[in-house]
Amino acid sequence: MSDCINLTSEIRERGPGGGGRDGFEACVAAALVCAAGEETEVLWCQDRKGVLTGWCRLPSGGSLLPAARAVAELDGRLAMVTAYLPERAREKGEREIAYHFDLDGATLTLTVILPLQWARVPSLTAIFRNCDWQERELMELYDVQVVGHPDPRRLFLDHSLPHAPFERLVPYSTFTNAATGKVLWDKVLAGEREEP
């Protein structure tokens, strides 16, 4: 564990902007391995302007909390959480949640793979305060339970709307109150015919 702490101070010195790209990447990789296990790998891409983006698929849902703690140790800031149903989610019975962190200008994404049914993730609010709304939002839009969230009320979704609208991959017109577009267009086209 002491290795990890050394890494933290090292990354603070080098940083992605500090010029030592390899050193920075090695630090992040080592911290994640330390926290989430040997198989944890980060794939880094650098764009034409030198901005680093790292992608890491966590080996298990259980490694999310330690990995998030490691990122916090590295002075990472939680930037965004994206829940989604990947391609062929039904076939594979899987869903994913991506946690995007800012590391002084570089973006690191940690992705957890969860079962499609009965998905549960631990809340990160104890580590990143601003995860509160991110998690409240993902709980109302998707069928995912966030374990340990301090305030799991709905956030944006009106109470009259069904739970988890983002789970429905059917065309939206069949689950909205009316296919408004069609009704309106019928009138537009009819209005026209009335004209002399």
């Binding site: 902007g17 302007k49 990947p86 979704l157 983002f166």
Partner: protein, 360 residues
């Protein structure tokens, strides 16, 4: 001390958009608050999965009219990243011009509204009149005063002719003196100082804990600007200093905004001076392969982040974005704590609250 709960809405808070707060008062001071968003929730992240990439350019521009250019340009950057498109240099500059024009108008609107909230009507009208120079410029160049329709996948769909560039340069010249004057006013005018200095303070440590970005963070001494930290488009060739203030109060946030508006004038001038010749767009109807990408930009309110996931079809599998306003609401708890009720509208407006952005 008596504790009571009050509900405040857009009419009490002088907001252009509907947002509600449940405020816990101890005596006449704020003890805690609960933010109740959702009035402007239009299900946009769901709509974008049912529309193709082209339609999403126009749809995203209507997420919020105050930062309307940041959304399509950052979305297009994500699409371009997935498709491996390098946009022409001229387009990079023209995107920066559009973003900076919007930044000036957005910052001025925020400062104007705050003047109105504290009853400085003459100053409110003055700032709005200065902002009109930008509104007129937007309409002259882009055809609309709010939604510029500047972006397409692979570049831009507007150009600046020699005369157009000269016209914009003249408008920028006309902005300098009023912006300098406004900066001095918001910095030193005693009537403003009384209401804004030391009010709604967010300490730097709290700013980090609450993960705020943009002028709210920079007003607390946090030197973070996406244009510098993660340069994109033309920004790696443009010179500017990140505007930072130490106060963490309402005044500091406004000074950051006004300093940035002034810098935007300089950024636009640099763009006009460096504007390279060449095409506006890489490829008019590109194929978008399967992939994922992140794109970021510095919107008027701070870091804007987009995540795009595609499967080779012409609609996104997932398009998620996090607006800079998102974290500010929670930080209001710190800024409002211990403040008298009369300061609530000003402090709420000092975070440049964007509800359309927040609710999506």
């Amino acid at each position: 001390m008596s504790t009571k709960l009050i509900e405040l809405g857009p009419h009490q808070l002088a907001l252009e958009e509907p947002m509600y707060f449940r405020v816990k008062l101890e005596g006449d001071r704020v003890a805690d608050l609960d933010v109740l968003p959702g009035q402007v929730h239009r299900g946009m992240e769901h709509l974008v999965m049912r529309r193709n990439f082209y339609q999403n350019i126009t749809l995203l521009e209507r997420l919020c009219s105050l930062c309307s250019n940041s959304h399509p340009s950052t979305f297009c950057a994500a699409v371009e990243e997935v498709a491996g498109i390098t946009i022409p240099e001229r387009a990079e500059y023209l995107r920066a011009v559009a973003d900076e024009i919007k930044r000036i108008a957005s910052h001025l609107f925020c400062c104007a509204v705050q003047a109105n909230v504290i009853g400085e009507t003459a100053l409110f009208r003055r700032v709005m009149e200065v902002r009109e120079i930008m509104q007129r410029a937007k309409e002259a160049i882009y055809g609309n005063r709010m939604d510029l329709a500047a972006n397409v996948i692979g570049g831009v769909r507007y150009d600046l002719s020699v005369e157009g560039a000269a016209y914009l340069a003249r408008q920028m010249e006309a902005m300098k003196q009023p912006l300098d004057e406004l900066y001095l006013q918001y910095s030193n005018n005693p009537a403003l100082l009384v209401r804004m200095a030391g009010v709604g303070v967010l300490p730097r440590a709290a700013a980090r804990e609450y993960a705020v970005v943009g002028p709210v963070a920079r007003g607390c001494g946090i030197d973070y600007d996406v244009r510098k930290k993660s340069p994109y488009g033309a920004y790696d060739r443009l010179e500017f200093e990140v505007a930072v203030q130490e106060g963490g109060d309402v005044r500091a946030r406004n000074l950051v905004r006004l300093a940035e508006a002034r810098q935007s004038v300089s950024l636009i001038e640099q763009c006009l001076a460096q504007l390279p010749a060449g095409p506006l767009c890489a490829d008019t109807l590109p194929e978008i392969p399967a992939g994922e990408a992140i794109a970021k930009s510095e919107a008027p309110r701070g870091e804007l982040m987009y995540y795009l996931r595609t499967d080779g079809s012409d609609m996104p599998v997932r398009l998620k974005w996090r607006v800079p306003s998102y974290m500010n609401w929670d930080a209001l708890k710190v800024m409002l704590k211990g403040e008298p009720v009369a300061n609530i509208p000003l402090i709420v407006n000092s975070i440049d609250p964007c509800i359309a952005c927040t609710d999506r």
